[in-house]
Amino acid sequence: MNLSFAFIDWNVISNFILKGFLFSIQLTLVAMVGGIAIGTLVALMRLSGKKWLVWPATIYVDGLRSIPLVMVILWFFLLIPLLIGRPLGAELSAMITFTVFEAAYYSEIMRAGIQSVPKGQVSAGYAVGMTYAQCMRFIVLPQAFRNMLPVLLTQTIILFQDTSLVYAVGAYDLLKGFEVAGKNFNRPVEMYLLAAVTYFVICFSLSMLVRKLQQKIAIIR
């Protein structure tokens, strides 16, 4: 079979692919910001040493991490309408799902980051009269965040790849854009190939940037 990319012009890109691309980016950013925020809270709960906080946090993290993401997407798509009494749409449902799901993974990263800060610094914070919240806010979290920045970003690249799984509920993401264009022009093979190239170029360049950043941070420390 001969591959032909001649049908692709700006209209195809802007009508089909760009729309999906923007959603994928939006989903990634929402899940990253929300996931890191919730993840940090969950990590603090797990490290709090109080049983009634540690337990729910542990169940949350370990539970989500042992279920396939596709199943989590399906679960939320099924449960959210049952809970709020009306359908929410695949796109919005995916945003909630990814935020909740990624929080479990980000929280493990933040936990490692918080543990990488020497204990003496917390004691020092208390010694100068800081409260727990102040200690975390001004001493521990800034350092934890910085130490873990490359890992957080790597996880975000994985998150970006995983957004393609919204396929399960039919949300219109980057991959879907390629697929719909392929169906419309009866050129599915070319479009799947282009999808792979696009994802590769994006993820590969991002991971190169993260590697650069890692070296930079490593030098400063």
Binding site: I67, W75, L165, A168, L175, A195, A196, Y199, S207
Partner: protein, 234 residues
Amino acid sequence: MSWDWQVFFQDTGSGQTYFRWMMSAWGWTLLVSGLSLVVALAVGSLMGIFRTTPVKALVWIGNAWTELFRNIPLLVQIFLWYHVIPSIWKPLQGVPDLFAVVIALGFFTSARISEQVKAGIQALPRGQRYAGLAMGLTLPQTYRFVLLPMAFRIVIPPLTSESMNIVKNSSVAFAVSITELTFFAMQAQEETSRGVEIYLAVTFLYFISAFAVNRVAKVIEKRVQVPGMIGGGK
């Protein structure tokens, strides 16, 4: 909302119950995971080893392989092996769908395993390699008898979590209509509208599959311990 677990004893319309269907779907999940794991371990180890050799060309191949299969989403890779490659390379047209999924999931995971194996080999003291070569072993012999036996023991824990990931990732096979657990969940949910019961059962089966993999890996880890060495007993 009320529970209705009877749904599993309903007939699917083709002479079997949903329970029977779910069990066969579980079988497919385990089959896909098992075959992919074999592919991933074989290819991943090879690429990981390549990346630690002194041969520039091999290092390049190993690096390129890892970057290529790590930076494309699994679902897209499955579509590549299912739609794109058979239409470019004719001999692959007749092979079963299972093949596409196993190759895709296997190669996807091999990129991760190659990272672990590389790290495992690099974790060994450099002197071990030199000692092997100085004794007159060839490079392959040095790997076979000196480096790999210890490196593989080091990487058992990360390989365990990769194996559990394979079970979870096999769920993506639903996209090319392999009748594994996730595909069953979607279909049965649609046919019966008892989504909660069906998803619960399927989620539970994923749990025990991953847990079983974890246990088996722990047994292997115990079995191959070298006394007095990293992670070894007394």
